[in-house]
């Protein structure tokens, strides 16, 4: 049952898998317009809601697929990584990251 134990893969095999995942990630983000600092910043002037549309469509899609795969017994939900919650680092880090995002254009 997924997720798979990847420890049997060689360094190069595992590397290529993550390279492929990363490549797809970068490709999709650029296709959506996230390669443009101006387009990213436009979200915060409410000119262009692409960032929110892409992010939340992505999160909802992945959340549903993960939940369904778990319900069908295809994916062991206890074995996937869930970010632990640290409230104040999330609050302060989030606020600072958002400010840096606007100042730098990510």
């Amino acid at each position: 049952m997924a997720p798979f134990d990847l420890s049997g893969l060689s360094t190069v095999q595992a590397g290529l898998l993550y390279l492929a995942i990363g490549f797809s990630f970068g490709f999709i983000l650029e296709r959506a317009g996230f390669g443009s600092a101006r387009k990213l910043a436009a979200q915060f002037f409410l000119h262009d809601m692409t960032v929110i549309k892409v992010m939340f469509t992505g999160i909802m899609t992945a959340a549903l697929l993960v939940a369904w795969a778990g319900a069908l017994g295809w994916l062991d939900l206890d074995a996937i990584w869930v970010n632990p919650t640290y409230v104040w680092p999330a609050v302060v880090g989030g606020l600072l990251l958002g400010m840096g995002f606007l100042i730098g254009g990510y």
């Binding site: 296709r31 992010m55 992945a62 302060v92 990251l97 606007l102």
Partner: protein, 173 residues
């Protein structure tokens, strides 16, 4: 030769759907989502280790990934972040968008834009370590497995950026 016009971006809902499927595939195959800032931190730690190995061993966040005999580059996040750069470039290149430019608002000079990019980037780097992740590792990945901390983080990112948008609107408009 006339430069070809860049292709338009894809519909954001289609892109979001593709992103969600990819995120699911990542969880399904590997047990964790996507990441970016962690990979950059490891590359940074490897660079610092070349010039100042003592500093790496003394600083807990670097020591954790690169202290002693640890190789900071021997990690999935490093492969992933290299893939992101390649994938982004290939996408932009195939769509006719790959060019050297400094994107900025109309009322700001190029040197000022670069200074702000450096300041903002430094702040983002610092904040991503404090929050243990960025928009990829926390907001997208943690968000889709419903981590409470990731959702708090995500809302705070938007709050921080919207709070500065009005006072710093000259940066972008």
């Amino acid at each position: 030769m006339k430069p070809q016009a860049a292709s338009p971006y894809v519909n954001p809902y289609i892109a979001g759907l593709a992103l969600g499927v990819l995120l699911f595939v990542a969880f399904f195959l590997t047990g964790h989502g996507l990441g970016a800032s962690g990979g950059l931190q490891r590359i940074e730690a490897a660079a610092i280790k070349v010039v100042a190995p003592d500093h790496v061993d003394r600083t807990s966040q670097y020591a954790a990934v690169a202290g002693g005999t640890r190789n900071p580059l021997d990690h999935w996040l490093v492969w992933s972040v290299i893939g992101v750069a390649l994938g982004g470039f290939v996408s932009g290149w195939r769509a006719g968008r790959a060019k050297v430019e400094i994107q900025k608002g109309p009322h700001i000079s190029r040197p000022a834009r670069l200074v702000f990019a450096f300041l903002g980037g430094s702040l983002v780097g610092f904040a991503a370590r404090m929050a243990r992740g960025c928009t990829s590792g926390q907001a997208l990945s943690g968000g889709s497995v419903l981590s409470v901390g990731s959702w708090i983080f995500m809302m705070c990112v938007f709050a921080g950026a919207y709070a500065l948008a009005f006072p710093l609107q000259r940066l972008w408009r």
